[in-house]
């Protein structure tokens, strides 16, 4: 069974068709890329999957079951985590607290134990802290654990968003332009990092990125969107040679 399946998904904002008849299947364990020019509907597609935008038509299925009508926190609890293109960190909280909020659904403790600070409560709480610090460590953010998220550099903020998303122990990770604002060497590191977290956490990754070489080198399969429609689908090699993709990116020949 496919982990995630989109069937004929369409989104209309008034007269604008942001997405139209999009079919996609994402398999367990793969790194699946979404390419496309600005305004092609990539982020809208992420918003539909994560429950922020309701599709006007079509169905999104998670392990075969429809996600229709589920609010975004319910979808997050099913194991779908995401990052945001225009960074949405909790800016008045420290990096550590950001990751702890990401652990929300696993951090539940009996209210009375929390009030009385019982031994088991404190043990569990310090265990969560260790887990959060380990995640920060993985993204080389351990030194900034107690700094406000707002004080981080742009690249660090992107990494913190990924750490926060991973904290919810997702099965599917949606990354919206994770390399934006990073320099070439950071982009290389990011590619290795995404592969490593996929293997370590047994993740499936759906990724939006503009940087074509990064995507061709990283993804198992790619889909290309243009004007809300899927114009190509396949392995990096197939997509690179696809005439429709070349036309969308370089313009049509006369």
């Amino acid at each position: 069974m496919n982990l995630l399946q989109l069937e004929d998904v369409g989104v209309r904002f008034g007269g604008l068709r942001a997405l139209q008849g999009v079919d996609l299947e994402v398999k367990q364990g793969e790194i699946f890329g979404l390419l496309g020019p600005n305004g092609a509907g990539k982020t809208t597609l992420f918003n539909v999957i994560s429950g922020l935008t309701a599709p006007s038509s079509g169905t999104v299925r998670w392990r075969g079951a429809s996600l229709a009508g589920l609010s975004s926190h319910r979808i997050a609890r099913l194991g779908i985590a995401r990052t945001f293109q225009n960074l949405r960190l909790f800016s008045s909280m420290s990096c550590l607290e950001n990751v702890l909020v990401g652990m929300h659904q696993h951090a539940r403790q009996p209210p009375l134990a929390a009030l009385l600070q019982t031994q088991s409560f404190r043990r569990r709480e310090s265990q969560l802290q260790q887990e959060a610090l380990a995640l920060l460590d993985l993204f080389q953010l351990e030194a900034t654990a107690h700094q406000d998220a707002a004080s981080l550099s742009y690249g660090d903020r992107r990494r913190l968003e990924m750490a926060r998303a991973l904290a919810s122990r997702p099965q599917l990770l949606l990354l919206d332009e994770p390399a934006a604002g990073m320099n070439p060497s950071e982009k290389d590191e990011l590619r290795e990092l995404i592969r490593r977290i996929r293997d370590q956490f047994k993740l499936t990754v759906l990724i939006i990125e503009h940087h074509v070489p990064l995507m061709l080198g990283l993804c198992d399969r790619l889909a290309v969107l243009n004007f809300g429609q899927r114009i190509a689908l396949g392995s990096p090699d197939q997509v690179r040679r696809d005439p429709a993709v070349i036309e969308a990116y370089l313009g049509g020949g006369t």
Binding site: S50, L52, S71, S72, H73, A76, R77, A81, R82, F84, R88, L89, F90, S91, S92, M93, E97, L100, V101, G102, H104, Q105, A107, R108, Q109, A114, L115, Q117, R164, S168
Partner: protein
Amino acid sequence: MDAGLLEQMLLGALLGLSVYLPLRCGQLSLATPGFFAIGGTVAALLSTRVPALAGSGSTYPITSVLLEMALAALLTGVLALGLGRVVLRLRGIYLAIATIALVEILRVVTLNLEFTGGALGIFGIPQPFNSAAGYAAFTLALLALICWLCDRLEKTRPGRAMAAIRDDELAAASQGINTADTKLLAFVLSALVAGITGVVAAHFLNSWNAKLGNFDASITTLAFVVFGGSRTWLGPVFGGLLLTALPELLRPVGDLRLIVFGAVILVGPLFFPQGVITPELFKWFKPRIGGITTAAAQGVKQ
């Protein structure tokens, strides 16, 4: 210091905490005086109309006050649960307007109902304490309890969820936080604090009428939090204590006092846009106080 003024200051701190709870979750609710008025009315009615509560001694029994507080908490809690579901769909200033309307509706209803005493209100509310100092001690214990609960809340999972919603509601929902329920929790807790504060205030003031929960009170209690700060529970406590005391302490300057009071409220946010009490203040203080306590601890060991 005059114990009567101290009691008013402590009540101010409690009301500040009531406004603070939803605000820490990013919700600007001005419903606090409404729930305060409900608590006061419950206490006034029960203690003047139910002879069984009066007891046999010369003073009104404290157990009856505690019972009134439990009933007021139940009533305001249930009401906040129902109202919150509806009004918390509104955001920002629209929520503020809806909650002001709620306060006004309650005021007009209290003013026109017969059993709440109409415009005159309810008189001769029995006294559980013989002196203002007794009230102050009781209220101080109540304030300490609620501060402790707020402190535990801030340092645990629901408190982190509230702060996350304040920073970015959409991102909070994407972390699996049920934002509607978390905001409702903050709103209900706020109503409970206001309700039980109303019970204490009714006994202390000896009479209760519709004027005690009005729009002016909404703005004054909001000023406690804006002035003190809404990042930790210490902010509204500080703001409530200081801004309640200030008009009284300024009595010697005569008619100028309201002008000075207004100026303080204006200057506060100008120089301390986050409020006077902020986490940065703690960071500044902590190494100093921490250093002293560690040194003291080492001294004890030696």
